[in-house]
């Protein structure tokens, strides 16, 4: 049942066409810039009868959520909007920009939609209020119940317009959740908490989900057959295959950026080392050979290096291994407990966690070393950093509200926001690549 719904969800296409030419990007938002005042009007229903699915507000709400999440916009409260979206126009010349400049909007999103059977057609436009001109116009059609994805796609376009880089709102987070019970299962959800699916349901312990480079499958460690083995779950077919089931720990599988190999930790006789496996799970190469703990490999975006955790120096620290030469260098020196490394998609730094006093906090450090930057700063534990595919955000878990929940922040540590709120503990988030 779970499998079937996943297949339906993931086998999905939105058709898209430009209804106006996109202009050059404005590049007036970003870290350190003042928030850009934006209005997002509910959409005009151009079909007959009632709005069948509250799409008018639903689509606007999803765009508002994304813009807000980015931390770069100040979305004006809908209660202050002057015009009635069902009576006003949504194209240039069919509404009065003064209705929007009056309330302080500089950017404006308007749109229309119609529904026929199960299909929805949506037109969305971004206007520059001060210049009274249209910046972006797009037409989408797809299944009506996927209306949020259309909204997220347009939010991605807005981000691209303002920053030059496509947004990441059509992505998902895989994570581990207890959902209030005693078992740990793998879940996948959209950033806004919608389209939430439980991937595993084997009533044991399932850990460390990570995405394949194409975003179509999830690798995870499970105790479902007693031994902690690696499994690969295909989100499209629902097929779950044993990937590495060597006796002992099979841990932390990370697909290489080129999709050809997987870096894992394997345990033999109590000792963990890092190996490269091929696409079938066979060992290609052993990467570490020490009587120390060697775990949690994370790839550099060019696939030439791995950062990993080792206690070879007496305490857990981060090390960088260059694959071609086989040389290893120690990266972290401050703090007695540094783990959970995640190499940024831009390649310049590594996020990780460090023990400060009795608590864990998220830091970043340049790949060349140097002074770490602290991103979380409070009297709780902050763990498991995972980068967005554009490198502008980090998702992580924190127990700042009692139980562990997932949070998102900008790469600078600003604008920390909670994403999940199940009755259980949500941990180990893994951010997907961009999905179609």
């Amino acid at each position: 049942m779970i499998v079937r719904s996943l297949v339906l969800v993931f086998a999905f296409l939105i058709s898209l066409c430009d209804v106006a030419l996109a202009q050059v990007s404005l590049e007036i938002i970003g870290p350190g810039m003042p928030k850009y005042p934006m209005a997002v009007s509910p959409l005009k229903h151009v079909g007959t009868g009632r709005d069948p699915g509250k799409y008018s507000e639903g689509i606007a709400d999803a765009i508002v959520y994304d813009l807000d999440l980015s931390g770069w916009f100040r979305v004006l409260d809908r209660a202050a909007y002057i015009e009635n979206p069902q009576q006003s126009g949504d194209t240039l010349g069919s509404f009065d920009f003064r209705d929007w400049s009056t309330i302080g909007a500089v950017g404006l999103v308007k749109g229309r939609f119609s529904v026929q059977g199960d299909e929805i057609t949506v037109e969305l436009r971004l206007f520059d209020v001060s210049q009274a001109k249209e910046i972006i116009g797009k037409r989408y059609s797809g299944r009506a119940r996927d209306f949020r994805r259309i909204a997220h796609k347009f939010a991605d376009e807005i981000i691209k317009q303002f920053t030059g880089i496509q947004g990441v709102f059509n992505t998902r987070i895989a994570y581990v959740s207890t959902s209030g019970g005693r078992f740990k299962e793998i879940h996948v959800a959209h950033l806004d908490g919608s389209e939430k699916y439980q991937v595993t349901n084997n009533r044991t312990i399932n850990l460390s989900p990570s995405w394949t480079a194409d975003g179509k499958a999830i690798l995870y460690t499970s105790y479902k057959d007693r031994n902690p083995s690696l499994y690969l779950f295909d989100l499209y077919s629902g097929k779950d295959v044993k990937f590495s089931a060597r006796t002992g720990l099979n841990l932390g599988g990370k697909w290489s950026p080129d999709g050809q190999t997987v870096a894992v930790s394997l345990e033999r006789g109590g000792n963990t080392d890092i190996y490269l496996l091929d696409r079938s799970g066979a060992i290609v190469r052993r990467l570490t050979d020490a009587q120390s703990i060697d775990v949690s490999p994370s790839w550099s975006p060019d696939g030439r290096q791995l950062v990993f955790v080792s206690d070879r120096g007496g305490s857990p620290q981060l090390y960088i291994l260059e694959l071609a030469s086989g040389t290893t260098r120690r990266l972290t020196y401050s703090g007695g407990y540094n783990t959970s490394p995640a190499w940024s998609p831009k390649g310049d730094k590594i996020a990780y966690i460090s023990r400060v006093g009795s608590r864990f906090s998220i830091f970043t450090i340049g790949v060349g070393g140097g002074e770490p930057t602290r991103l979380t700063n409070n009297s709780s534990d902050n763990e498991d950093p995972s980068w967005s595919p554009d490198g502008r955000f980090v998702v992580f878990s924190s127990n700042r509200a009692g139980r562990y929940h997932l949070y998102i922040m900008q790469a600078s540590g600003e604008n920390q926001r909670r994403l999940t709120g199940s009755g259980g503990d949500d941990t180990k988030p893994s951010w997907s690549p961009r999905l179609d």
Binding site: I205, L207, P228, V309, D311, S358
Partner: protein, 199 residues
């Protein structure tokens, strides 16, 4: 097919529990073992001295030999080792897997029991407290289980009878965020496993 196999396995576990349980001291003759390392070592030493007289006792309860932590988790049972178990837990310091002297004492008692029960096979579980990263803790748990195994082997227990598994921080016995609780979770557990039918 699978269901039948599973049922068979539980049956085997039950039989094994009865057989092995017959050698164990009864619950009524034992003091409650608090989680602190020194007193649990004392309790198991007490068990060792009582063993001879109780070899003939039958009808030991299932609790005498606890199920493995994963089975206990699945069944919603406590994953704590009862004070009646002939094989007591050993405890570790934070981020360490070397054996403390109290752990060595407990391991000597456990080794004696293993020598007196030569058909018993043991799975050694390595556990950690909740602090730190899951993956690192899984590797640390594997080290802890291996340290216990290596010491039992040096005490003369055949390595073939000893397997290891790490549960890292995933199956704690105590869930409070206190040092008292964390200390109880940094442990190795010893679970009697039945001979599995070849599959």
């Amino acid at each position: 097919m699978k269901v039948q196999f599973k049922a068979l396995r539980y049956f085997v576990v039950a039989i094994a529990s009865l057989l092995i349980g017959g050698c164990a001291p009864s619950a009524t003759t034992k003091p409650e073992a608090p989680p602190s390392a020194s007193s649990s070592a004392a309790a198991t030493e007490g068990a060792g001295t009582q063993r001879q007289g109780e070899g003939q006792r039958g009808g030991a309860s299932e609790s005498t030999v606890p199920p493995g932590s994963l089975d206990a988790l699945r069944q919603g049972k406590s994953t704590a080792t009862p004070s009646t178990s002939p094989l007591q837990d050993i405890f570790f310091d934070f981020d360490r897997y070397d054996l403390r002297s109290d752990a060595r004492d407990t391991l000597r008692t456990n080794a004696d029991w293993l020598k007196n029960n030569p058909s018993a096979r043991i799975e050694i579980e390595g556990h950690c407290d909740e602090r730190g990263t899951n993956e690192y803790n899984l590797a640390l748990g594997a080290k802890r289980a291996q340290s216990a195994k290596d010491y039992l082997v040096t005490l003369g227990v055949s390595a073939e009878r000893l397997s290891t598994i790490s549960y890292g921080e995933e199956i704690p016995v105590c869930k409070d965020q206190t040092e008292t609780c964390w200390r109880r979770n940094r442990r190795a557990r010893f679970v009697v496993i039945p001979a599995r039918p070849a599959s």
